[in-house]
């Protein structure tokens, strides 16, 4: 059984007990435990079940690479699936549940899959779920959906209760990884004066070196780490962060650091995660190495564990995963585990070494009384929910002549793979190291930065060297090189001297025994999380999947949440062997960020809830909100769709506003309309290029409606232009268009006509603008007083004046988008609310009502006025909308003019704007297409047009619409059919788009 030892546990505080639950059972651990070490201390060997076959699984590693021990953490709004027990720090009240089983962990119906395993090899789904065809939709897909997904998704009604943030950080040197290599690299870099940041994913500094032993400068590793950390803490140019994982390295020195602030201290104020958005001149990756498992039958039975992990559990947390342990290895390092276990009082039955001879560590083990069996292998581990016994055999051979040994845990070591993820994310290349049988960074081919030079340097065991002395020397050199590359001068200091027992060469053993028969290979796991076995990779190779990327996708090797950290290399080696190729020829799959999964919320940062995106507010926003506004998003703005009174539906409110504005008086908050000041000696010339019509001839005091096209000829905006003085114009844009059109103007001024003397300023938000609309518009303004003459004679239609209305300095535009008598009045934004209040107050006797955007739309549609974004969609030209009158024939050039001459633009077959009136007075569905005779090549009915705007007009008592119809203007009176998505076919008559006051008498009074 796995149990807590009486001694050891450098990371736990035995005076502080912690209570937590696993599957509802209350358990005890110590402060400093991980969930994994605490579960082991409680003899909870089995921690979950595998994804595909539902096999019992226990923890196999002790860190970020863990594939098996995934749990659901927390409850309610804080529930999160697929959290690694090995990286979860224990705290009081932690609740965890195991995954992938029903009804419970011990008894799982889905485990039937493991009995069927031989029928579920790689590619099973691809091959099986093809025939018969109708089965896909009704049988296969529902079945697959049922079994898909790892862990349990949080309840659909739950909402993440925590906050998250980003932080932008800039540094000369970023060191990723706080083991001895990272610490030494950071110090070497910092001594140059460079600004250094060091991040470490765990809560502890020093990495695994304190567990592995040895001395540095004559002192124990722990001591060295302690001193080095306190030294770095005192350096003003060094920032240290633990619980902060290097998640990804990107172009131009951009690195994401994922800091877990309160995962281990729930209830503490502040954000849960912080995503560091770091820009580093140089990045040192000191990310260490990960031990590989060995592939033998039953290597996934709970109790089989990485040798290094087992050592970690003993030394760091004072927990032994077993009482009678067998160690299997192809290298010397695993002997450290045997020795550690033995010294902790655990019975180490034997070390099974695939090699014929080992180094001094083996001798040390023998002297402690441990039996060492060279040239031996594990043929099979027996046991279901935990290890019961192990069958041993010769490494050479197919696995016959077995000897069975009873035991309760197996430590395995297949050698070490440098963590090259950070090196590789941004394009760093790898080379194959024959001696250590691993890929390591190729220093000749680093990721390239903005200056075309490498910006990542690998250090320590992530760079290949595994012995303490070499690691420290390499890290020291890397730190200095990084400082130099960042433009600092490194100090000439000596690297600390690390000493450990020398090791004999490892042997590349990818399968135990070397020629294991198929029965064994079918039980030899490569990818523990996705249940990929040696036999699956071999099958893929036989079926022609020669590319490693194809094999990955076919077998799902390395596609689980651990992304194959543990044993991808084993899989590659098996594939290489099956293809009879060298491992470097087969290559690796691509390493992509993030290193381990990070919370989606941390990527979103602050952008959630009410600041998910900016909501732009006019000066009268709060008034609208308090007066029944039904909001409509227009770009980032919020505009009032309609002001809904108690007891009214939105539709009722719209109809009321529509009638009242035509009959009495309406107020519209038009502040969102863009307002651009264009000034300079060349401003007229410039606006003549920007607009399709002539703006240079506009007289001071007058307004003109203008159209803007892109260089491609398509309509991009419209609005009223007012000439303010001899060299100043004010251009109104659409609500969503102010920034876009401002940018458009600046683009042409800066990049094409840079010698033209024109300045543009965006003054959109300087003004609150109110449209005062309806037969009583003049009356209410005259009542407010102020001395401005607003008569037809003094301020005719399409003119503007500055003046005073009531107490307010304002600019009054006599323009109309409704066909009514209308004044659009701009006052300073800081007085917008007061002005609105004054209008509401004075307008009471004239039947004033505010109206929203839907009413605005209906009023303009009744008049046949187009709306950018409704009648236009980026493919519509002015000619389509019957706006020929706005296309200047006098001007030699304007944006879009040349484009309008292109053959397709002049094509008479283009759909053209018409009015549409349903035969029965109903409202046409928005966006519906008109169908004509015949069918197209896809067997669909031919389309001859579409609805662009459609409303119920309360003034006319019927549905009205506009649309683009092929040959439309020539087909007045014809009936066209519009099939709706509701299955009905709507019939509408083609009519003139002006439905109301065709002669425009109402606006011109």
């Amino acid at each position: 059984m796995s149990t807590r030892l009486a001694k050891q546990g450098r990371l736990i505080d035995r005076t502080k007990q912690v209570t937590f639950t696993f599957n509802g059972t209350s358990m005890q651990g110590y402060q400093g435990d991980t969930l994994a070490s605490a579960l082991l201390a409680n003899d909870q060997m089995m921690m979950g079940r595998s994804f595909k076959y539902h096999r019992p699984r226990g923890v196999v590693a002790s860190g970020a690479e863990e594939p098996n021990a995934l749990v659901g953490l927390g409850q309610g709004n804080r529930f999160e699936p697929n959290q690694r027990a090995t990286t979860t720090e224990l705290f009081n009240g932690l609740t965890s549940v195991s995954q992938n089983h029903w009804p419970n962990l011990e008894f799982d119906i889905g485990a039937v899959n493991t009995a069927l395993a031989r029928f579920l090899p790689a590619g099973f789904y691809y091959k099986t779920f093809i025939h018969p065809k109708p089965f896909w939709k009704h049988v296969y897909e529902p079945f697959i959906r049922q079994s898909a997904g790892l862990g349990k998704a949080p309840d659909k009604d739950s909402r993440d209760a925590d906050t998250y943030e980003h932080f932008y950080h800039f540094t000369d040197v970023l060191v990723i990884g706080g083991g001895v290599a990272g610490l030494q690299a950071a110090k070497a870099a910092a001594q140059s004066g460079a600004k250094v940041m060091l991040i470490e994913q765990t809560a502890h500094w020093g990495g695994r070196a304190p567990v592995d032993g040895g001395t540095i400068d004559g002192a124990p590793v722990d001591k060295f780490v302690e001193q080095l950390v306190s030294e770095l803490e005192t350096m003003g140019n060094v920032t240290l962060r633990n619980r902060c994982m290097g998640a990804g390295v990107y172009d131009h020195g951009y690195v994401l650091g994922y800091e877990r602030l309160t995962d281990h201290t729930p209830g503490v104020q502040g954000p849960r995660h912080r995503l560091w958005r770091i820009r580093a001149k140089q990045v040192v990756t000191a990310t260490g190495a990960i031990e590989r498992p060995l592939s033998f039958a039953g290597n996934d039975v709970p109790g089989v564990m990485l040798a290094s992990a087992m050592r970690d559990y003993v030394v760091n947390w004072g927990v032994t995963p077993g009482e009678r342990v067998i160690v299997a290895t192809n290298n010397d390092d695993a002997y450290r585990t045997a020795i550690t276990l033995k010294q902790a009082g655990v019975d180490v039955l034997r070390v099974v070494d695939a090699r014929d001879s080992a180094g001094p560590l083996a001798e040390e083990a023998r002297q402690l009384g441990i039996r060492v069996d060279p040239g031996k292998a594990i043929a099979k581990v027996k046991g279901g929910k935990r290890v019961k016994k192990v069958a041993l055999c010769n490494q050479e051979g197919i696995g016959g002549a077995r000897e069975e040994v009873e035991c309760d845990a197996v430590a395995m070591s297949g050698g070490w793979s440098p963590v090259v993820h950070m090196w590789s994310h941004c394009g760093g290349k790898l080379i194959w190291d024959e001696a250590n049988a691993h890929f390591r960074p190729d220093p000749e081919r680093p990721p390239l930065g903005a200056n075309g030079e490498g910006f990542v340097i690998a250090a320590g065991s992530s760079n290949g060297p595994l012995a303490l002395g070499e690691v420290l020397a390499d890290a020291d050199a890397a730190g200095k090189a990084a400082a130099k590359a960042a433009g600092c001068k490194a100090k000439r200091t000596k690297a600390p001297l690390g000493e450990t027992t020398a090791e004999a060469p490892m042997a590349a053993v990818w399968l135990m025994p070397a020629n294991a028969d198929i029965q064994l290979r079918m039980k030899s796991w490569l990818d523990f999380q996705n249940d990929v076995k040696v036999s699956d990779v071999q099958l893929a190779a036989r079926e022609g999947y020669e590319s490693v990327e194809h094999t990955k996708r076919y077998t799902t090797l390395g596609m689980a949440t651990d992304q194959g950290k543990l044993s991808n290399i084993n899989g590659l080696a098996i594939l290489a062997d099956a293809l009879d190729k060298d491992i470097p020829k087969v290559g690796t799959t691509t390493f992509r960020p993030p290193y381990t999964p990070i919370s989606l919320a941390s990527i979103g940062g602050e952008a959630r809830g009410e600041v998910f995106q900016p909501i732009r507010q006019t000066p009268m926003h709060n008034w609208h909100d308090q007066n029944g506004a039904d909001w409509e998003p227009v770009g980032h703005w919020r505009r009032t769709y309609a002001y809904v009174r108690p007891g009214e539906s939105v539709h009722d409110a719209v109809n009321r506003e529509v009638k009242n504005t035509r009959e009495n008086l309406g107020l519209l908050d038009a502040s969102t309309l863009g307002k651009l000041i264009v000034k300079g000696p060349d401003a007229g010339k410039f606006l003549d290029m920007m607009y399709t019509n002539m703006m240079s001839t506009l007289k001071v005091g007058k307004c003109r409606y203008g159209l803007m096209c892109s260089e491609n000829g398509f309509l991009i905006d419209d609005g009223v232009v007012a000439r303010i003085d001899e060299d100043t114009w004010l251009c109104h844009t659409t609500t969503g268009g102010a920034e876009r059109i401002h940018g458009h103007m600046e683009e042409w001024l800066q990049t094409e006509w840079w010698d033209w003397k024109v300045y543009v300023a965006n003054v959109t938000e300087q003004y609150a603008q109110v449209a005062v609309v309806g037969p009583n518009a003049r009356k209410v303004l005259e009542k407010l007083g102020g001395g401005m003459d607003l008569s037809k004679e003094a301020l005719p239609f399409m003119e503007w004046r500055d003046g005073q209305i009531g107490d307010f300095d304002c600019r009054v535009y006599r323009i109309s988008f409704s066909g009514e008598l209308s004044y659009e009045i701009a006052v300073p934004a800081s007085q917008g609310q007061a002005f609105w209040d004054a209008l509401m107050e004075a307008g009471r006797e004239f039947g004033v009502m505010p109206y929203g955007t839907e009413c605005l739309h209906i009023l303009r549609a009744e008049k046949g006025f187009i709306m950018i974004g409704d009648e236009t969609d980026g493919t519509v030209i002015p000619q389509d909308l019957g706006l020929h009158w706005a296309l200047s024939k006098k001007k030699e050039d304007y944006l879009g003019k040349r484009a309008h001459l292109r053959s397709h633009m002049a094509d008479p077959e283009r759909w053209k704007l018409v009015g549409l009136e349903t035969v029965d007075g109903s409202v046409l569905p928005d966006g519906a297409y008109a169908v004509g005779e015949g069918i197209n090549a896809n067997g669909q009915r031919n389309m001859i047009g579409r609805v662009t705007s459609t409303y119920y007009s309360a003034n006319l008592g019927k549905g009205i619409a506009m649309g683009l119809i092929k040959h439309g203007p020539d087909r007045m009176g014809e009936i066209v059919e519009f099939p709706g998505t509701d299955g009905k076919t709507y019939k509408a008559k083609i009519v003139d788009p002006i439905f109301y006051d065709k002669d425009g008498e109402k606006q011109n009074v």
Binding site: Y250, D251, H252, G253, Y254, R279, L448, G449, A450, N451, G452, E711, N712, G743, E746, E747, Q750, T751, E752, W754, E892, D893, K897, R898, A899, L901, R902, S903
Partner: protein
């Protein structure tokens, strides 16, 4: 995520402050141009693997457009320069030659 130095305000701006504006040094064709000329001006673009010239705007910054010369393959930036020019200045061309001898782009080299 790129960093480009804005030649107007001097800031090393990261990509989130910038807006990309496509290929640089297009010659505008307006009324009077042939269909082919106008078509090429609107739609035909270089798509090099290597040296490229682009327009960028420091949109969340000083608002100015500028030009950048960079390598589309390695993302190396050879330099940024004024938008008010119809071809890259000699210093930029020299900087590219130093890093990519024999480079060509349209009729430049």
């Amino acid at each position: 995520m790129l960093i480009l130095n804005c030649p107007y305000c001097g800031v090393d701006a990261e990509e989130t402050e910038l807006a990309a504006g496509g290929e640089a040094h297009l010659k505008r064709f307006g009324p009077g141009s042939s269909d082919d000329e106008f078509h090429d001006y609107l739609f035909m673009r270089e798509n090099p693997k290597g040296v490229h010239f682009e327009r960028w705007r420091h949109a969340n910054g000083c608002g100015k457009w500028f030009h950048a010369a960079r390598c589309t393959q390695t993302l190396e930036v050879f330099g940024t320069y004024s938008a008010q020019t119809s071809e890259p200045p000699q210093a930029i061309k020299d900087a590219i030659s130093a890093r990519r001898p024999g480079w060509t782009w349209r009729d430049l080299s």
